[in-house]
Assembly symmetry: C2
């Protein structure tokens, strides 16, 4: 098993330098340096000769040396609340995929929704000279984020003082509730957290409320902290389910749950009690997370286009980061909030059962 | 909305330097520098005075400057295949949590199981002078990883030429299969990918095979690539389910599926056909992923202690990284493979239904 040791030693020795590349190509070290820091200032022919030499000699770039030369770390910091919610795992995957297409690397932190932890991570990220920051976690107020000396984009969280990209939650709330009305529900029910009105997700509540009022139907909102882990959500969902069973028995209930992870918990409670989804239960979630189609009974939901959100956030962040690299930094004075369309996905939990069935 | 701009400008100006700290404390800049690079060489009293000044003046450490001074980036690279498999999302969360406790930051890449992409990422990580590497992705042979000039730990992948931490897959395979025998199954079935024998997960197949042979029962292995996305797995599982239905009808089937994501797919197919789990189907997965308890019918599984795996991997990696920082680097010549115990978790899909029911 000496192999590994030997190879490591061998690799340590054969470190290729700018001088080697200069010797090989006949160009000066300055030209080699320009190739790495501003390739466009060289002719295509020169670029090609150097590229070939880099490949042949197996030159390994030292990013840290580059960072010192041009201040660009090419690192973006991301703070995510957790990966327990399927939605976050999905969004993070897309962000990293898109970011890599732009040539950026990500330092990722999970804050577990703890403000002190998050504060520590933010100062760590600043110490690494990250070029930009994407905040998915909720706990640090946007006012504090705005004071960091780095471009920040938030996704689906309070964004009063920073640029943001959010799903059109309000539109999603309208669509979900209107769909429940359309399929003939008699009671409209919305289950959500105890959100602040400044949270983008509050738009789901506004959308529900607007349609509920317009419809003139009986309606009910259960707004209480559900948690992010399955067990917590289940524990908090049981009394809600019992209350619905008691108060709305016999009525056709249209239930709009704030996210798919929680909608799956409620669906399980119903299926575990009845062994099927009774006709008087209509259920729709939000996010189009994997669980919405991986559940034994795939359920209706409002699709958040996480790929589009990730792309839009990266595009905006790259523009902000590039602006800072001008000789006279361009720092936009007005805030930008992008809103990405949502889509109604109809699956078996809200299918209309008509006479023809 | 001028606020953000103004704050950013203000922050740009008040950058605190070593000189400021020296002035404030009365110590030399060298002493201040020692505080950040080798605090233990100073008296506790001196440390406390400087710490107070750092806090009062709001000094922000520049990690990159430190890296140049001592070569420590405190960054670990992680390459994950995807977050579609619940197991990977879980393992990544734990790794990042544990790593943060050690004061390390993570640059995370998703390779999507593509070897060229992974090659590119590995060279990027090397260019950032990461201090260590944790590979969860499968596609780069360990021989190539061993040639990287940095400590590498692999988790649950081929590890012939590198240090690794794996679950005791063989033990898990034994336990799962023995459990199926114990509850009176007549046919033993194992569903897994077309694994190489060098993959740690192949231990699950060996465990199954050993018990199946010893038991003298009829047995069957379906070893074929299932995929990592739900839709792919479902598509590949349908013909397997049909084959089982056709060939083992009426017999009490004990089915051990290689991971919970795939076990959930099979459970859904069974539940969708029968609206319940028929008595002649006994099912057990592997991993104890969230889906195993979030499914409408929580299913039996073999628990991989991802937290313990993450802790063990970080501990081993930190030891390797520290070894390199000695004046004469300590590079171990022999490979270390740790194996972490698994645990049988019995839920409703393999409960014994005895006479007393």
């Amino acid at each position: 098993m000496l192999y590994w040791h030997y190879e490591a030693e061998k690799n340590m020795k054969k470190k290729v330098t700018f001088a080697d590349l200069a010797r090989k190509t006949g160009f000066s070290k300055t030209t080699i340096s320009r190739y790495f820091n501003n390739a466009d200032s060289l002719s295509l022919e020169t670029q090609e000769i150097i590229r070939a030499a880099v490949e042949e000699l197996g030159y390994k770039e030292n990013k840290l040396a580059r960072v010192l030369a041009n201040g660009r770390t090419e690192i973006i910091g991301v703070v995510v609340p957790s990966l327990y919610m399927h939605y976050y795992a999905y969004l993070l995957s897309h962000l990293l995929q898109v970011g890599e297409e732009y040539g950026y690397k990500f330092i990722v932190f999970f804050s577990d929704e703890d403000r002190d932890t998050e504060k520590k991570y933010l100062s760590e990220l600043m110490a690494y000279n990250v070029e930009g920051l994407i905040m998915i976690s909720h706990v640090t107020p946007s006012k504090e984020l705005s004071k960091l000396n780095v471009p920040v984009i938030t996704i689906e969280r309070e964004d009063q003082f920073v640029n943001s990209v959010n799903a059109n939650n309000y539109q999603g709330g309208l669509m979900a509730t209107r769909h429940l009305v359309d399929i003939g529900c008699e009671v409209l029910i919305h289950i959500n957290g105890d959100l602040l009105t400044t949270s983008p997700a509050y738009g789901r509540i506004r959308g529900f409320r607007e349609i509920a009022e317009k419809s003139g139907l009986e309606s009910r909102e259960y707004l209480t902290r559900l948690g992010i882990k399955y067990r917590d959500i289940r524990e908090n969902m049981i009394p809600i389910f019992e209350d619905i069973e008691k108060n709305y028995s016999g009525k056709k209930k249209g239930i709009f749950v704030s996210n798919d992870t929680s909608a799956n918990v409620l669906l399980n409670l119903i299926l575990q009690k009845y062994n099927r989804l009774p006709d008087d239960y209509k259920l729709i979630g939000f996010d189009d997370s994997p669980i919405s189609w991986e559940a034994v009974m795939p359920f209706s939901t409002i699709r958040q286009d996480t790929r589009a959100i990730a792309e839009d956030a990266m595009e905006m962040l790259v523009r902000m980061m590039d602006g800072r690299k001008h000789r006279i930094p361009i720092i936009s004075k007005s805030l930008i909030h992008h809103v990405i369309d949502t889509e109604l996905i109809i699956r078996s939990t809200t299918e209309k059962k008509e006479n023809n069935e």
